[in-house]
Symmetry: C2
């Protein structure tokens, strides 16, 4: 079975829980984005994903990408699916109208990509960086570069890559060695090797726009000496540039996306933004990309859930405890969906999918606010939310994608371990999301060390107060969430104080802290969903599953972090 998006459920979360329309209508340019328009876009997206994107997913895995005579061939069906994606205008959904885009909110694009990733992760990798490259070029590119490349990228006619990693420089981009030499005509010649370049070569588009992190001749050492250079596969005169795909990696999964080793030999390119300020320009791309990765995780988990739920309502094995005998009819065994262990798997994953979706859609809405609101204070608040919550979503949703998809595989028993049902592909594909766009460990450090600690938790505290204020303390569940939000604020202060004694502390507790934040946000999400849908079993059952099987982790992680802080105080460690 292929993935089938549920636009009705997305509309419920956007409309009934997040009140997206009133938020969007307040922004310049989105005054006409009403419920009906959102529904129309999402209905069309769902049909497109199911009909055009999903069908080639299996062949993407089994046939995969191949390097033939130095050029990458994508799996059967990918080229035609991508052609239709461009023809229908989906790449330009949230691009500005002056660049040929449709000027729709980011949140709708986010949902589109979530569904596409769920349906066909490998194929969706290809346009996955388009929007980031568009924003990067739009904000940092020269007029000349924008004129030549921005419309083609906005429309998806040309695809783009991010060329960061080198063999010796992964998480540590300060070690990048690729060089750029200024030429008399103002262009640069780029020389060096890059690895792990998704879509570094392919046959989906005529040209590929590489955004390459490299070093100018006079660059200082370390991350502050990096510049960003645009290097096209094909030069403006139509000739091929000197960029060579040397190899594609044999990976655990994601065979539909070519992971390339690229060699640049005096390849011609043009600087984007200021010299030595490449990392800043690239971070525009990376932040948007990280939210997309979180949505990939949510989508992949939903895809695994759909398969497991369908199987569990078809397969019969043994008697389920507590099942009512009269409802069994002539069958000698009960549906495995009735067995408690299977029910728990299915409901727990739904608790994650729906709760994480709400936080992710709220974050995508905040991206729209951060980009468009007239009030700089409001923009700044929205930006703070995105900055804090994006690493949390990226790490937690991708971890759950892998572990939850593995639990969905378990629902199939031995049948889950063989290719036939497609669920093992999801487990393999999902694994990479915990690594790329910054490993999950880097996300945790980004959150706690780089974002929460510098102002001793003040910004995080304000974000948590926003959440508190949207709850209704007269409801028991909401009051419980408010109590936990207060615990988290107190924990944040405790870490800040203990860090004064031992600066390495936040590195030690970063992963646990990130989990605490995610669990409390999920608790908030389920309280809010409970307001909007008080009597629906569809939403009440995962809400109960969340409280029973997910929420207990909150106290456990909180205790782990507190103990680490107490140890520092007790041992009287002093900063070096």
């Amino acid at each position: 079975m292929n993935y089938a998006p549920r636009p009705d459920e997305a509309c419920f979360l956007l409309g009934e829980v997040l009140h997206a329309t009133s938020r969007l209508n307040a922004l310049p340019g989105f005054s006409e984005v009403d419920d009906a328009l959102q529904k129309q876009v999402l209905d069309e997206a769902a049909t497109f994903v199911a009909d055009i994107i999903a069908p080639s997913n299996r062949e993407g895995d089994e046939v995969g990408c191949r390097l033939v005579d130095g050029a990458v061939r994508t799996p059967p069906g990918f080229k035609e699916a991508y052609r239709q994606f461009v023809a229908a205008g989906w790449p330009a959904l949230s691009a500005a109208q002056e660049d040929g885009g449709q000027g729709l909110p980011t949140v709708l694009e986010a949902i589109l990509y979530e569904w596409m990733s769920a349906a066909n992760h490998g194929l969706t990798m290809a346009p996955g960086l388009l929007h980031g490259a568009y924003e990067c070029l739009r904000h940092h590119g020269s007029d000349d570069l924008k004129q030549r490349y921005l419309p083609k990228i906005a429309s998806g006619e040309w695809l783009a890559t991010m060329c960061l990693t080198e063999a010796h420089a992964g998480s540590d981009l300060g070690q990048v060695r690729t060089r750029a030499a200024l030429q008399a005509d103002g262009s640069h010649h780029v020389t060096g090797g890059k690895i792990f370049i998704s879509g570094g070569d392919h046959d989906l588009t005529d040209n590929i726009v590489h955004l390459v992190l490299c070093r100018l001749a006079d660059a200082p050492a370390g991350p502050k000496g990096l510049s960003l250079v645009l290097v096209p596969k094909r030069l403006p005169d139509g000739a091929l540039n000197t960029v060579q795909c040397e190899r594609i990696e044999e990976k655990m999964g994601l065979h539909g996306s070519p992971t390339c080793v690229l060699r640049f030999d005096d390849a011609t390119g043009w600087l984007i933004g200021e010299p030595h300020r490449g990392l800043a320009a690239m971070f525009v791309m990376m932040n948007a990309a990280r939210l997309h990765v979180a949505l990939q995780g949510i989508g992949l988990l939903d895809a695994a859930w759909q398969k497991a739920d369908t199987y569990a309502h078809d397969r019969r094995q043994m008697r389920a405890p507590g099942a009512v005998p009269t409802s069994r009819g002539a069958e000698s065994a009960d549906l495995i969906a009735e067995h408690p262990a299977i029910r728990r798997v299915l409901l727990t994953q739904r608790a994650w999918i729906d709760g994480a979706r709400l936080i992710a859609y709220r974050t995508a809405l905040q991206l729209d606010v951060a980009r468009h609101d007239a009030d700089p204070t409001v923009r700044e608040r929205a930006q703070r939310w995105c900055s804090l919550v994006t690493p949390v979503l990226k790490a937690a949703c991708t971890q759950q994608a892998f572990q939850g998809a593995s639990e969905c595989l378990q629902v199939f028993g031995g049948h889950g371990y063989v290719r036939e049902w497609g669920v093992e592909q999801i487990v393999r594909d999902a694994r990479v999301t915990m690594i790329y766009e910054g490993t999950n460990e880097i996300q945790a450090i980004d959150l706690l060390v780089r974002k929460v600690m510098p102002d001793a938790g003040a910004g995080m505290s304000r974000a948590l107060l926003e959440l508190r204020d949207e709850l209704d303390a007269s409801r028991e569940i909401d009051a419980d969430v408010q109590r936990r939000l207060a615990q988290l604020r107190y924990l944040t202060t405790t870490i800040a104080m203990s860090t004064a004694a031992d600066p390495s502390l936040p590195y030690e507790v970063a992963d646990d802290y990130l989990r605490v934040v995610m669990i409390v946000m999920l608790a908030w999400a389920w309280a809010r969903i409970g307001h909007a849908a008080p009597d629906h079993a569809r939403w009440q059952e995962p809400a109960a599953a969340f409280r029973r099987w997910v929420l207990p982790e909150f106290d456990m992680r909180l205790g782990m972090v507190k103990r680490a802080c107490e140890e520092r105080s007790a041992s009287g460690t002093v900063a070096a």
Copy 2:
């Protein structure tokens, strides 16, 4: 890098912590099994595993098994490695001397198989069922069958399979439909289809002995109507039997082991044991097999750990917080082994590997006691331990194998997701151990519903008291473990009481209960290791990691089970 067993560490756990020699020497037949003999066997086993078993692991994954003209071809190197395995006498390590075996303790064989699985899971599947088939035939086979098959199985000259699963009958063996028809000469003709048969066909041995679960003509419905029939691939006159390998499965991993769909068409076989008592005979095989699966999990996790540990001590990325600048030398970045997130992964997995090893080796020793002790009371106590602890080890060690190997993959960043380093193979291979020999959910039900609840927890309580009595209450850590053992005993009683109100309760909490048992046993293991090696960083660092990062799950799961019990009491649910 290939897996390198550590016989010194196994000898430490056996000798210093478990005092294996004095336990073994008290058993008839093992009076000469001293420290030196154990060391000699394990040293030889380690060399054999590293030199002969490990080298073909990668090709086992990449080339895999192939079905050519109805016959399975194993990957390059497997046939020769298996030939040497037989030639060196390893299959007969713990078989009785009268059957041509070496008559050594089960615990040594268990360690041998752990290492073999770590080094080459796919190849090790082939002889993995040999000992179980040997025990099954030895205890239940007729003299005629034993004479014809037992020596060949003991020596590994012929390999064996367990044919249980059918397409519609996985966890639910009561639905098995394969038929056996009695013939005039006393043989049976077997007809039906079996799936997921590991080693159902291969080229490693001339003959394959299938033990087939099937139904006689007069069999009652359900699991009490199953009989066990021995069906050889090749009949005594040398002719091929009518057993056909129709397909081998395309799996997520474990490509070195052919997972066969077998078709029996009036295939000739002979009954093992009593008619309709096939499950009882087969359970002899399955219990031993389940401990082996737990050891596979431990071995695979150790293999992933060895790779990650090596990589972490070679790869440099960024500055580690708290690292002493003077120790850095000329390097511009620190070893990733110095970064807290990586240290945590490596130490946490060691805490699992070493702790679980101790429990598994203790269980293997108890198998020796259960088989050989002169005192029936002692045998019964040992049997109780094995019966209770085997499902706990099977579920917990295989789950940790998959999740822990995935954490080890994470140490490599993007390099872990590509084939080159071999760690992603371990994640794929390990996944199946959570499924076969009874899914982990079935193990949890086996533990709580079938083994703990029938005597209201009395047997479990006695097993926990055994553990308590081996601790030294004057040590703080031991006293903490004793407190937790008491909490678990109380929890067991609470479940038993609440089950009277709602018989489906134990099914709901079985997974959490199993985790509580495993964590407390690990706590016990680390307390015992602490006694034997008080000052070694090698053992003290994982001990600290265990208390910091693994032990907190105890309180969380305990709380989850308690709340479920309280809900039953509060809601006053009454048994149907």
